[in-house]
Amino acid sequence: MDIYKALVDIVGEEFVSRNEEELYIYSRDSGLTEREKPDFVVMPGSAEEVQKIVLLANKYKIPLIPVGASLTLSGLAVPIRKGIVVDLRRMDRIIEVNRLGRYAVIEPGVTQGKLKAFLERNYPDLCHSMPDAPPSATVVGNILIHGQGNLSQLYGFNSTMVTGLEIVLPTGKICRIGSCSLSPYWFAVEPLPYLAGIFLGWFGTTGIITKLGLRLYPRKRLRDIEVFVLDDPEKVADVVYRITHTEMAEDVITMEQPYPMMFRDVVLVQIYFNGDSEEEIEFKRKMLWNSVMNYIRSRDGGFMFLTPDVQEDFLEKPASSVTRFADVMKGGGFVYCGAIIPVEKFAEALRKLKEIAKRHEITYGHVGRIVGRGHCMMFSFSFPFNRADRASMERAKEALHESYLATLELGGIPWKPELFAQKMILERMDKNAAELMKQIRGLLDPNGIMNPGNWEVEP
């Protein structure tokens, strides 16, 4: 069977490639995981084309790897068993925005930047929960890996904001989940049995999303930030508890890194808040200040005065400083273990991060994001490397692997884990839960074509 020709028949010659150059680019992401070239890269333009590709892959048992912008840095979009990479970014329509219902229906290729710009222009009182990944990242991709965004402190992981899904199942059936499965409205996945869970966090092993309903939230006119500085990490958990109790904050971020010097030896708690008027902003600011006044009085913590240019940097959405961390060693790369941990483990995690960095003689950075009212947090163990220096890449990789272990030892779970860390998780997981995962995958994907290698439960 001439698979190339079959793919050309589905999407047209312009959107299939077996050229070395495309295979090279899609064989790797910007992290440090294994590389493997696919056999083909294909760019479907519709759910029907996706379906045809899936049917073809099933028939000839060819691995399929659905990808967005491939920015996980943990190799989740790398075709480790070769096969067909399905780049979904041609499917980038914003199909619908329901203003009163505060939801949008989008295709998988819609970028974070596109959705942000679209809403700002057309629905300025609505916004979505946006991560600090580059704007080229896809909204759906981020949701599918349980990403977090600037509204996660208020509303939880971005994956909890799904109101409906259209999926091409691994066997080729197209399926709608949530209210959209029987109603013209995409308002919620409840109150039906929670099928959405079978597709969130599975790294594309259970199907290919072709439409997603997403909750939108109020966007207020003004946005401001207060940065609370502490020199004792042990106090961070309590500060976060107090701040989140006020219910005044939008995003709450922690940061600790050795450079620039003004950030060294202290932990910054960045508290974003918003309002439709100066009055609302000042009220929220006052509540936030009051919540930590005990620390101010004891001189254990204080709010930084931000000059306008520094404030502008902090308020940038997405924060390009996160991306710029890749150039800290003038080397074009960084890796991180995004540990999902209880907030009370903050100080211990920070200690471990510094130990790991010291042991591997590598600099580090930490950025954290509070999820829910401190129900947990994403704590990053981040290590930059120089792409032109093999030794620096090795050190970063080793530090990263140790960070995965440290995360699990803390009682946390690595977010969007690379294969190595997936195995660590599955080894420690409740055996019956792991078995359930295996059964579900076996049921949905009997030929094992969907992003094979990921979430593979050993017998």
Partner: protein
Amino acid sequence: MMDIHRCFRCGYCKFPDDFSKYNCPPYARFRFESFSPGGRLWLTRAFLNGEVDFSKHLSEIIFSCTACKNCAENCRMGFKDEIVDWIVSARREILERGLAPPFVRDFLENIRKYGNPWGLPRKQRADWLRAKKYDGDDYLLFLGCECSYEDRGRSMAKNFVEILERAGVSFGILGENECCDGNEVFMLGELGLFQELAERNKKTMSELGVQKVIAISPHAYNAIKSYEGFEVFHYSQILWDLIQSGEIKPGELRKTVTYHDPCFLGRYNGIYEEPREVLNSVPGLRLVEMERNRKNSFCCGGGSGNFVFDLLRGSYSPARERVREAAETGAEIIAVACPACKAMLDDAAKDEGLKDRVAVMDLSEIILRCGIS
């Protein structure tokens, strides 16, 4: 290219500053990651490291970059201003290894032999235009290859010459003695040829005592600025000066117009307002902006020689996307200030079936259309 490994492939380079659409012409056209600025840089590095062999497809990837500078404008890293230089260096390396693809080889050979990329006779450069030869005038009017040989460019030259004459501006042209400004030659990596062309033009101009130069093409404007020793103006700036001083007074034109910022005028040289001032000075003219304007302008896809070999052609071409974007504003006219843009957008309007809805006109044409006193 020592720092080429610093590209993280984050993708900021693909967008304008509000991230609303893909603003990198080859990425918007082909959509494979290999055609994005980051993909191109990674492949260049892989080629230089021997990980990837040279191929026709690689040459398409490398030469489809129009050098529009959107990537340099939007990259968030410290090396942003070097990105286009890296692409140019990669091209230089390819040429030096004797791997130039035929379309580039022909482009450069034609310039070397005939002084223009189409390989048309030298004497046809200016024999069609009735304009005074430069002889100590206030300004040298530098036409450039497109305005000398291509229909749409020629009409831009004719129109501007008419305005200058009616305004009584003292100017002259080089005629056959003008040779290609070399901007595209430089962008294609042929530094040696660029230097030859620059020296030739500089010599001609210096010997004639030229001090001030008006360029119609922003590509020529960009190149001649780098020659040094001359005061260079873009024709939109001269038009605005003439309007401000009252030398020309535009008549009424009740049309809705949108202005397309050329890359070499806008992002490369920061000239955004004078063309708009010219348009705003026309009574009755309503200027509307496309979503992507000024430093966010979406390149027509003609740069780096693509106005000749057009690697970005097809139904998904940037030019066609741009014309659709212009039509969405309700504009009846797309105002341009660059002969490459004029040709690309004019052809695209035809291909999109929008020629009746939206006319592509350059600034001089618009000024003449509304009548001047």
